[in-house]
């Protein structure tokens, strides 16, 4: 089904692999026949700071940045980082949220606390009724590599989009280093199953 537009936002912490996942989304959009733009953050922010990357599919996309209130899919790689962007969701937007916390410095140093899961759940539910909690990092660790968490989230998004699976697997093959392709495909399937 060709949609008017689909906007994605990946939010996480530097090193979690948000750029790879957003690259896969962008290339998949291209395969599906959309005009695509994508925006990402490099440089200093990557050193353990919050990172976010945005992908836009549409008939014609002008801005590489999506407007607040327009995001269709928020991929939350980490709870607190997802919470910072939740206002970008459109009223029917969906959030795929990794139930995983990386405490920011103020918390690790004991100067602040990391809010409990219930507070995030409450915040998210004020923005959308479409919340999918996924223990992606836990599942990824069982598969031997915590950075697969993002691809698990991606699998859940792809399932919800009702796009041909082959397109995604093809793009994964193109973008992932060869020795990790099978593992990433498996992770993608894990995400599909969770969403199904």
């Amino acid at each position: 089904m060709f949609r008017e537009k689909v906007d994605f936002l990946c939010a996480g912490v530097g090193g979690q692999g948000t750029i790879l996942v957003s690259d896969i989304i962008a290339e998949a959009g291209l395969e599906l026949g959309y005009d695509v733009k994508k925006s990402e953050v490099h440089g200093m922010a990557q050193r353990g700071g919050g990172v976010e990357s945005q992908v836009r599919w549409g008939k014609k996309v002008y801005s590489p940045l999506v407007e607040q209130g327009m995001v269709d899919y928020l991929l939350g790689f980490e709870m607190m980082e997802a919470a910072r962007w939740v206002e970008f969701l459109q009223p029917d937007g969906k959030i795929m949220i990794n139930q995983y916390r990386i405490p920011p410095p103020a918390v690790t140093m004991g100067n602040a606390t990391y809010p409990p899961k219930e507070e995030f759940d409450h915040l998210f539910s004020c923005c959308t009724k479409n919340i999918m909690w996924i223990n992606a990092t836990e599942r990824a660790q069982l598969m031997g590599n915590p950075t697969l968490a993002g691809v698990i989230l991606l699998g859940a998004v792809a399932k919800d989009l009702e796009t041909p699976v082959g397109v995604w697997l093809k793009v994964i093959e193109q973008l992932v280093p060869e020795r990790f392709i099978e593992l990433n495909k498996e992770a993608f399937q894990v995400g599909m199953n969770i969403a199904g």
Partner: protein
């Protein structure tokens, strides 16, 4: 075939497609990937130079000798290269010469935001500004043609959102070009053009002004400055990524989309003003177009509505426009399902970037903080030494500033112990001259050189001490100790930052000795080397919760309110926390071999 390229990849491709044979750059976010991508094309020569001024001078040489050449740099790099830019505008070129500057509105990774369109007016040369990846490649070709046609260097200005956004572009696969036997030409001496002594330069300035006049004429009809029809209510002047944002927020307006930011098309501005009721300028940073329109006597709406600071985005433009009555209030986007209700409050602590787990800089900063030293910082990953809990550095200005600032502070004799820290690549960029200045003027300062064997912050580029070039050739690796010794510095020590005992002794010795001295702290970047060892564990019964380990600012160490824990996923197992724990509660319970660098 259609490809999704970043602006940086597209500019690199554009240079290759335009037959550019020579590229030079010093890495700097958001420009770095232009040169690293260009360097991979067949038949081109590209190098990392020691700084942006050197980049521009070597490219000017290639251009004088008849080849198309380009340089890339971040916005502040052009400040370093400005001296050369100004003379090159006077001398003109032979082969096309393009200066790519990537500005950073919003300061994602920079010490300031500055609008390098101003260099067009200041140094008197044309500035092209692409609005997506396809234009990045196209404008590179155009810039080369303009450069040769008008005998001038040309600036191609990108911004972070152009450089680091992907958009579609038609790309032909680079083919292994047959090595054409090019006839090597003799250099043609042209004294009146290439020696800018006053008598020549006075004549050249007249040519420069005449050239700008002709370029302004060309700007009126050039395809990249275009009027896009719309309703007669609003006429919007925009370029670069701001054009894309504005296009989305004002789908029905008339647009003057500028591809050349300088010189500007006077007649096109009047045409727009005659067509619409209100002219609106939407430009990031300075009121560059706005001021030009005002000088022409055209009433405009600009910086009184849209901010002069920070980065734009579509939501910001929409909010400003609604507030100023340029859009009806119904034009607001409905945010989430909450409608008008405020979202529940939740405590989201900020997450600033910090030194990576296992970073060799951490231990030195921790010791300097313990010694209450004044630490004059510089530009690189170690800029992060200012962040709590390390709180180590006192200043950070621009590339190479720290050593000079240190000398000034020392010469007016403050009571505190003082030191400057500078990375390997930054030292070669602009740290050598101020270091020599300390020696020359009888200074007694101590400079710590953080040698992590790579230019790390910008994504791992080689530099004069790494022994490899941009195009993968082995080369001389300059020995930093020998180099500073040759300057007349006799007190030099090399430490491994994980050797805490030695670091303490050496720091104490150097800071208490009234003599110019250098400490080389050498440990390879762990992120680059993907160094990872098993995480140590904390024996809870031994931990007295003194929180000493939390003062080193390492992300995997987490306060659990009555003890400390180590997040094994984030930890790289460097073991530095083991050394700072006074009760021996942090222990390595696994046996493994560390790399040869590690103590």
């Amino acid at each position: 075939m259609k490809k999704l390229l970043t602006g940086n990849e597209a500019i690199a491709y554009g240079a290759y497609r335009a037959g550019v044979k020579f590229g030079a750059a010093y890495p700097g976010t958001p420009s770095t990937e232009i040169m690293s991508n260009y360097a991979k094309y067949p038949g081109v020569y590209a190098e990392w130079t020691t700084n942006e001024k050197v980049s521009l001078d070597v490219a000017i040489g290639a251009s004088y000798a008849g080849k198309r050449a380009f340089v890339t740099m971040k916005h502040v790099g052009l400040n370093v290269a400005a001296d050369s830019l100004f003379y090159a505008v006077f001398t003109g070129v032979k082969g096309g010469l393009v200066v790519v500057t990537a500005d950073d509105p919003g300061m994602h990774s920079s010490q300031n935001e500055q609008d390098n369109r101003n260099y067009g007016k200041f140094a008197k040369l044309p500035v092209l500004e692409p609005a997506d990846s396809a234009e990045g490649a196209e404008f590179m070709g155009l810039a080369m043609e303009l450069s040769e046609t008008y005998d001038t260097p040309v600036i191609l200005r990108s911004t972070t959102r152009i450089s680091h956004s992907r958009s579609l572009i038609e790309v032909e696969e680079p083919q292994k070009l047959e090595e054409l036997e090019e006839e090597i030409q003799y250099y043609q001496r042209n004294v009146t053009k290439q020696i800018v002594m006053p008598n020549n330069a006075r004549k050249l300035h007249v040519i420069v002004e005449e050239r700008l006049r002709r370029l302004a004429e060309y700007a009126e009809t050039a395809s990249f400055n275009r009027l896009e029809p719309g309703d007669d209510e609003l006429g919007i002047v925009a370029s670069g990524v701001a054009y894309q944002y504005a296009r989305e927020v004002f789908p029905n307006a008339t647009f003057l989309k500028l591809g050349m930011a300088y010189p500007l098309p006077r007649e096109l501005f009047f045409q727009l003003a005659n067509k619409v009721k209100k002219v609106v300028v939407i430009e990031e940073l300075d009121p560059f177009y706005e001021e030009h329109l005002r000088v022409l006597g055209i009433p405009v709406i600009g910086k009184e509505v849209f901010p002069i600071t920070g980065e734009f985005n579509p939501a910001l433009i929409r909010q400003c426009a609604v507030k100023a009555g340029l859009l009806p209030s119904t034009a607001h986007v409905q945010i989430a399902a909450t409608g008008e209700k405020a979202l529940p409050a939740i405590n989201l602590s900020p997450r600033p970037p910090m030194l990576c787990p296992g970073c060799g800089y951490r231990g030195i900063f921790h010791e300097l903080t313990r010694m209450k030293a004044l630490v004059f910082g510089d530009i690189g990953c170690y800029t992060l030494g200012c962040i709590p809990p390390l709180d180590a550095t006192h200043t950070c200005g621009c590339m190479g500033a720290g050593i000079g600032v240190l000398h000034g502070v020392d010469k007016v004799e403050v009571k505190d112990p003082t030191v400057a820290v500078i990375g390997d690549s930054t030292l070669f960029h602009s740290g050598l001259a101020p270091l020599i200045n300390i020696v020359y003027n009888g200074g007694v300062s101590t400079v710590i050189i953080f040698d992590n064997r790579i230019t790390a912050m910008t994504g791992f580029q080689g530099n004069p001490s790494t022994g490899n070039t941009l195009q993968g050739k082995f080369t001389v690796a300059i020995n930093i100790e020998d180099m500073v010794r040759s300057m007349g510095i006799n007190k030099i020590d090399t430490v491994n930052p994980f050797d805490v005992k030695k670091v303490r002794g050496v720091l104490k010795d150097h800071l208490n000795t009234p003599e110019v001295s250098v400490i080389v702290s050498r440990y390879p970047c762990t992120l680059y080397n993907k160094e990872k060892y098993p995480a140590p564990i904390i024996e809870v019964e031994k931990c007295n919760y003194c929180k000493n380990c939390l003062k080193i600012g390492c992300a995997p160490l987490v306060d659990r309110e009555n003890h400390v824990e180590i997040d094994a996923i984030l930890c790289n197992g460097c073991g530095y926390c083991i050394k700072v724990c006074p009760t021996g509660a942090i222990v390595q319970d696994q046996e493994f071999e560390r790399g040869e660098c590690h103590v």
